[in-house]
């Protein structure tokens, strides 16, 4: 009750929250990231416009990496599973995430998709995002690195038109460079744009068609692979899913349905989202 005048009106309480609106997504992303780190899998969030050549680059990557790296992927797509089928045919076992009308992947969609791919056995796990230069940049998925595919046909000013996306990029793959002789596109102008939106611009020129640059891209990936877990710590046949190994001892159900909204589990774990390393470390409590 209002304590000033006794009028009987309810009090208006200002509650200072000061929290990221997407904090639930951030927590799920941290959970995904902990899984990838613990398993020694390099997770890459591959973004870019529709038609930038994301799938084609992955197909070329698979050809070049055959026998060197185990690759796998999930592909976000509004309506089809074409990309996942193309990747699987190219030797990259892939699952599809059909987002319906959603213009981006979020951490929960990725987490669900992990049940459909034997991702633990992989060296590099590609999360091929929905073709879009805006929305995907806003959502952390738990990846180690963001890679943005930008094709030479898209125009030199794409980086400064989409600064949010390119700021998040750890690497830009300039794709379809085999077309450069036919276009009036200046690679230097693209590099200048990137320097204005990326504090540490890195770009590799590739052609999925000719294979140019794919080796440099593979080297970039190999240099960033996390350490493998010690022998024995890996490959134990537990369900990757929810609830295991969070380092808390209250023994909740490990065999429960995968389709529930597990975000609630995380909320019961104070500080979990800031301490995902402890998540990995606490992995063995249930043997």
């Amino acid at each position: 009750m209002c304590s000033d005048c006794g009028c009987g009106d309810p009090d208006v309480v200002p509650l200072e929250v000061q929290e990221r609106i997407l904090s639930d997504n951030d927590r799920t992303a941290a959970h995904n990231r902990a899984h990838f780190v613990e398993a020694g899998v390099l997770a890459i969030n591959l973004m870019g416009s529709p038609g930038a050549g994301k799938t084609a680059v992955l197909e070329a990557t698979a050809r070049a990496a055959a026998g060197r790296l185990h690759l796998g992927a999930v592909s976000g797509d509004l309506a089809t599973d074409n990309d996942a089928r193309r990747l699987t045919a190219a030797g990259v076992p892939s699952a599809s995430i059909t987002t319906g009308s959603a213009c981006h992947l979020d951490a929960r969609l990725v987490h669900h998709a992990l049940h459909d791919v034997a991702w633990r056995e992989l060296d590099v796990f590609f999360i091929e995002n929905v073709g879009n230069l805006v929305c995907p940049a806003v959502y952390d998925l738990g990846q180690a690195f963001n890679v943005v595919a930008l094709s030479v046909t898209e125009g030199e000013d794409k980086p400064i038109k989409y600064p949010v996306m390119f700021r998040k990029a750890d690497l830009v793959l300039l794709t379809k460079v085999d077309l450069l002789p036919y276009l009036g596109v200046s690679v230097a102008a693209i590099e200048d744009g990137l320097a204005r939106v990326m504090p540490e611009p890195r770009m590799i020129q590739v052609s999925a068609r000719t294979g140019e640059g794919i080796d440099a891209w593979l080297r970039w990936l190999e240099e960033r692979r996390p350490p493998r877990p010690a022998a024995g710590a890996r490959g134990h046949d537990h369900d990757h899913g929810h609830g295991h190994g969070h380092g808390h001892g209250h023994g909740h159900d490990h065999g429960h349905d995968h389709d529930h909204d597990h975000d609630h589990d995380h909320r019961r774990e104070p500080g979990h989202h800031h301490h995902h390393h402890h998540h990995a470390g606490g992995h063995d409590h249930d043997g």
Binding site: L15, L22, S23, D192
Partner: protein
């Protein structure tokens, strides 16, 4: 159009606070940075569309916008807008010091006397 999913997350978050208190939410204050990837008019439209029938039905949304600010981590010099993101003096890569916020700052709600 991820603004709708941001509004959904916002309304969920508010419901977690207001629900258990049986509170009547009157106002929300959020901060959106220039480089957050959120279109502010679209966020407002999405909120106005989405709030009906939720705990936010009567709650006014106040959006504070924050300009992007890049600074040198060495000498703290602010970079000119649109300039390459490298300090002209030290040569170090700049750091974004403001402008990527997507923050729920405050919920103002009427809490019934119990």
């Amino acid at each position: 159009m991820h603004e709708y999913s941001i509004v959904a997350a916002l309304v969920d978050r508010v419901a977690r606070e207001a629900g258990p208190r049986h509170a009547h939410v009157q106002r929300l204050a959020v901060t959106i940075g220039e480089l957050a990837g959120v279109d502010v008019p679209l966020l407002q439209t999405a909120y106005d569309t989405f709030r009906a029938g939720t705990v936010c039905a009567d709650a006014e949304l106040t959006i504070r916008q924050v300009a992007a600010e890049w600074r040198c981590p060495g000498c703290d010099t602010a970079l000119a807008r649109g300039a390459p993101l490298r300090c002209a003096t030290c040569g170090r890569p700049a750091r974004l010091t403001a402008g990527d916020e997507i923050i729920l700052e405050r919920i103002e709600m009427e809490v019934p006397d119990v």
